[in-house]
Symmetry: C2
């Protein structure tokens, strides 16, 4: 459970940067090399590689070197943990709002039998 949370930290932190989100968006249209990815960002290569490294550390992408070029692709369930956490939260929140609606309704109807 704690292990899972550490992962969430890394995933959400990875998502909190525009450059990294852009990389994910690009990769969702198919694999690419570091060079291809980097060409769309005005940034020195070592800086750019830092972003790649973070995405990989968070388990969101996978990379492999073939010859002198490194290929990157999305990791199958890379964003799933983040999605699940948010969906669960959203569910909870909707339930809360529903409870509130019921309560408000009961007040209107004068049927407020459960204080």
């Amino acid at each position: 459970m704690t292990k899972y949370d550490v992962n969430l930290n890394l995933i959400f932190a990875a998502l909190s940067d525009e450059t990294r989100r852009a990389i994910l968006v690009r990769l969702s249209r198919g694999p690419a090399t570091v060079g291809e990815l980097a060409s769309h960002h005005e940034m020195a290569l070592p800086s750019f590689m830092g972003h790649i490294t973070k995405l990989e550390a968070a388990g969101m992408i996978e990379t492999a070197k073939k010859g002198r070029t490194r290929y990157c692709r999305l990791s199958p369930d890379g964003i799933a943990p983040a999605q699940h956490w948010l969906d669960q939260q959203a569910d909870q929140w909707v339930k809360r709002l529903d409870q509130f609606d019921e309560y408000a309704l009961s007040l209107l109807k004068g049927k407020n039998d459960e204080p």
Copy 2:
């Protein structure tokens, strides 16, 4: 569009910390005062308030002071932007996987007419 992205930065950054996620989970069960929230965390109050401030800056919670106590509650659509971004990404990714499946299938069937 850029404005929206800045917001995503703040939201995902806010979500990348366990303390802050715990606050959101607690608030999804109903509003609470800063003191109540803080009582579950071994942390000096000013440090804890920093987390509250960040959640509020990201638009994820709303707070209001009544007398000497400050009340906190979830902001109705606080996590929606993050959810939408992830859902869109997930959709894209699933499409990619489907394309790959089709391609793989076509190879198996020897019907590979679209290289």
